[in-house]
Assembly symmetry: C2
Homo-oligomer: 273 residues x 2
Amino acid sequence: MTAKPLILPPNPTIGVFDSGFGGLTVLGALLPLIPGAKYIYLGDTARLPYGSKSRETIARYAVSSAKFLEEQGADLLCVACNTASALALPEIEQALSIPVVGVIQPGAEAARKESSRSVLVLATVATTQSHAYAEALTSLGLGVTEKACPLLVPLVEEGWIDHHVTAEVLRIYLAEAFAEAPDADTLLLGCTHYPLLQPLIERTLAQMNHPMTVIDSAAATAARVAEHFAPNHAGNPATCRFYATDSIEKFQRLGTSFLGQPLAEVHLLDLGG
Amino acid sequence: MTAKPLILPPNPTIGVFDSGFGGLTVLGALLPLIPGAKYIYLGDTARLPYGSKSRETIARYAVSSAKFLEEQGADLLCVACNTASALALPEIEQALSIPVVGVIQPGAEAARKESSRSVLVLATVATTQSHAYAEALTSLGLGVTEKACPLLVPLVEEGWIDHHVTAEVLRIYLAEAFAEAPDADTLLLGCTHYPLLQPLIERTLAQMNHPMTVIDSAAATAARVAEHFAPNHAGNPATCRFYATDSIEKFQRLGTSFLGQPLAEVHLLDLGG
């Protein structure tokens, strides 16, 4: 969370940004919390995935996406992307004049409520290498192990969310992580694609006789965004406008499974490059 | 191959372009064929993968990469990327004034030499949706089935090139393909990442009691490039300069396994975006 002051417009415009579809899980958590808002969602799908790229490249991509949403009238920006939150939050905050909420700090605080010892964070290569979760969780007094899981995003995008290959990949990643962190009691899903795998992850943990509390940062992040706005009891319906930098058709098709409802009004956006 | 005339400089400069590392398998095939050349390789790693993106986005990225290599003095451009060759070859040819060689036509002709019936092409989503291989192989009188294999590139990049998960993914993709194309006798690797999986693919085919000739287009494409140049018997050593649009360190590390030798002199390049 930034130190910028709270803003309280009656019908706020909230920008939500991700490299792709995963941030729609955060938007899904925002809708019931701030029902009267106007949401503008940008998926930078032409340049995804961010998770395998360098800090400089991620920051350049994230800042251009964030600026677009501010120009569209956003009163607040929610960076619903773990990789961009982990590697580019200072650059985004510096480039904008509106409050910016990332997913790392809310996710870490949600883990703090569950864990008494140590947290295992599953995330992309870039997020783990940034050690943003390690810093946030350590400052809350918790032990941390970060595990990069580069195959999980492609498996989710292939639609193999309840598939024996995905289960085997999870077993391999989790076994490697447990070898390093046998005492971890909480599993933090540090990528907005991973909530779609939560049932399979919980089943795999049970089969490995290693039960853990599994949490994702979507709900915690949405709650943090809501702190910025006065409750709206007028009953205005939320509106959502979607922008994607690559194929609109693919965005509508994949996005529906992330948001849990059909996506209307997706616009193609050229951010250059 | 373009209709542009042959060019015969004594020490040609050859531009080789891919979205990432895979095109290094083509460069590896070029080095012994045209030993006296100066090679400039560009991996557009900041914007990879191309294979899951739309035609318009791929064309925009590919043209900017191709123009860079022409500006660096390339006498010929080899598009060592199946996706860019399949979706953007006309746009690239129109944007440049040097000859352009893609991988589709040479790959199809190499398959023609092996197949008497029907070819199974494994490739990215974008390449299969373009049907570029289907058009090229059909015009050579062959039957064709194109199978998208979106998980293979991430598995190669994870380094799981001899791994039981990759074998299982291959079995699933191949079984789906054989259900559609039971009489295919030749397997064409339609992505420059896939040659690294060739031993595992051949073992999997044997285990499935479905032996096929496996070919990749790297050697055929290199031979097509060599047709543009007079043989050089002067014994000049080849030089290679590498550009990547994302992390140089990752490019050097992963690139070594694709080229089969260490990569010297990798430069970071900003193509914007």
